[in-house]
Amino acid sequence: MFWQKEFETMKRDKLEKLQLKRLKETAALVYNKVPYYKKLFKAKGVTPGHIKTLEDISKLPFTTRDDLQKNYPDKLLTIHHHDTMRLHTSSGTTGKPKAVFFTRKDIDVAANNIARCLTMTGVTKADVLQNMMSYGLFTGGLMMHYGAEKVGALVIPSAIGNTERQLLLMEDFKTTSIHLTPSYALYLSDIFEKKGPAFRKKIKLKRAYMGAEPYTEETKKKIEKILKVKVYNSYGLTEMNGPGVAFECEYQNGMHLWEDSYLMEIVDPKTDRPLPDGETGELILTTLTREGMPIIRYRTRDITAIIPEKCKCGRTHRRIMRIKGRADDMFIMRGVNIYPQQIERVLMSVAHVEKNYQIYLDEGDKIKVKVEITKKLFDGNLEHLKKLQADLTEKLRTEILVRPSVELVEPGSLPISEGKAKRVFDNRKIY
């Protein structure tokens, strides 16, 4: 199902022409209205006039999280904040948050993109969407709410937490779709397992939209199995309107990124060199329609690749792969770029260890992975443990191209990971 078929299946040449027109407009807008951008452009010796083709985007300066924090609260606006309607923020790892302003049109575009996402996964006005994301400064709640309203679905703004009430709403209002974070989905799965199949029968759930945090294919499969829903991966960030920047279609194979709203690039996070489709690097996004606070070449720090092949669904907007990791988490071992998420994926597939692992990088380019033994893995047999250790070592070597030493440790010996736990400990000397 399409929300806007002519836009979603627009021929590539026409789509690219539209992108170029919007890129020129956006570059001119920030150059003329935002002194900080004018300064950045001048430092690179470029003006909006230098943009003749889409490839010329690489001449423009990047915008980093640091730039957003430096310009807090409202120095990147093209208009007075009286003419904007909504403020969202996104917290940085340190210091001031990043504030993002939206005009009426900006909210409308964001909601429209979400309407496309929901429609392509089967949501109609007959559906009931329980939005289990926190409402407030975070875009996950409100933006999805607006998108689902646009489709005309019944929206239950249940927000996150109070699980018993969530279940009650789900049962009483016959919720068909939920929007939630993977960690909350895992928690919900535990509850569903405890309540048993009789409870699941009373629930009408068909689909779950998961986003806001990266998660592995294994986590998705686990949730699909327990909740008996289809899980659609959603990618978004507050700086780029929140959820629905890219979204899985009914084929659940990569996320279509709405290219009439964003210009995407993939660059090598260390060298900033642009990479061709299919290669893994940092996703760089430029807003193409934003009025209040356009952002040029935003360094998302998210690691992914553009899928070069066409999707069976007929949409021409290219897909990106599941987020592989954060550029900040990346480490280099013997010249190979490695992301902790790659290791996590192997651990999940072989050992179902989920989040209980740590990575140590030691002198001499040695990598050690400590894995907590779980009850599920232990049957009292030492030989089985040795086999598990050997399997993990081999599968990890295939994935990261470096042979790690795998250490099995007792449960609870690694610190419990609440959200962004430290996983990588680099003890190598820096030369």
Partner: protein, 137 residues
């Protein structure tokens, strides 16, 4: 041939780790009857036979230890020359797939018992019982 309950506990080879296992048992007045360590270097599996296996299992879980409760075979060894040889014969005759074995000396100190960890203990037990019946006939 009695079937006993055995606790297997995962431990890292670090100072104080084994002491933790025994102290949990001591605190709960559980007696250790037999004890065996299989180690791979960095970690190992400790096998314990105690007088209250279910309670020990519960207390280990509460202490955050990874413990596994399973059944093992006990073969009585006659305390006389050739006692172990008799046991070896039983093992061979019954084609027991022994994963681990260690000795348990009961309080009576009459006959020592060889604890053996075999795969598919239920089948082994059935075979043994069946043979016993045949002999009685």
């Amino acid at each position: 041939m009695p079937i006993l309950k055995q606790l297997s506990v995962f431990v890292q080879n670090q100072p104080g780790k084994i002491e933790r296992l025994t102290s949990v048992l001591a605190e709960n007045k559980i007696n250790i009857l037999a004890f065996n360590i299989a180690s791979s270097g960095e970690y190992g599996v400790i096998k314990i036979i105690v007088d209250k296996p279910e309670l020990a299992h519960k207390k280990y879980k509460e202490a955050g230890l990874t413990a596994y409760l399973s059944e093992v075979l006990g073969i009585v060894m006659k305390d006389k020359p050739g006692g172990l040889n008799d046991v070896a014969k039983i093992i061979a005759k019954n084609r027991l797939n022994v994963e681990n074995a260690y000795v348990y000396v009961p309080k009576s100190r009459k006959n020592a018992m060889l604890i053996i960890d075999v795969r598919d203990i239920k089948a082994v037990k059935q075979n043994l019982e069946f043979e016993k019946k045949l002999k009685k006939r």
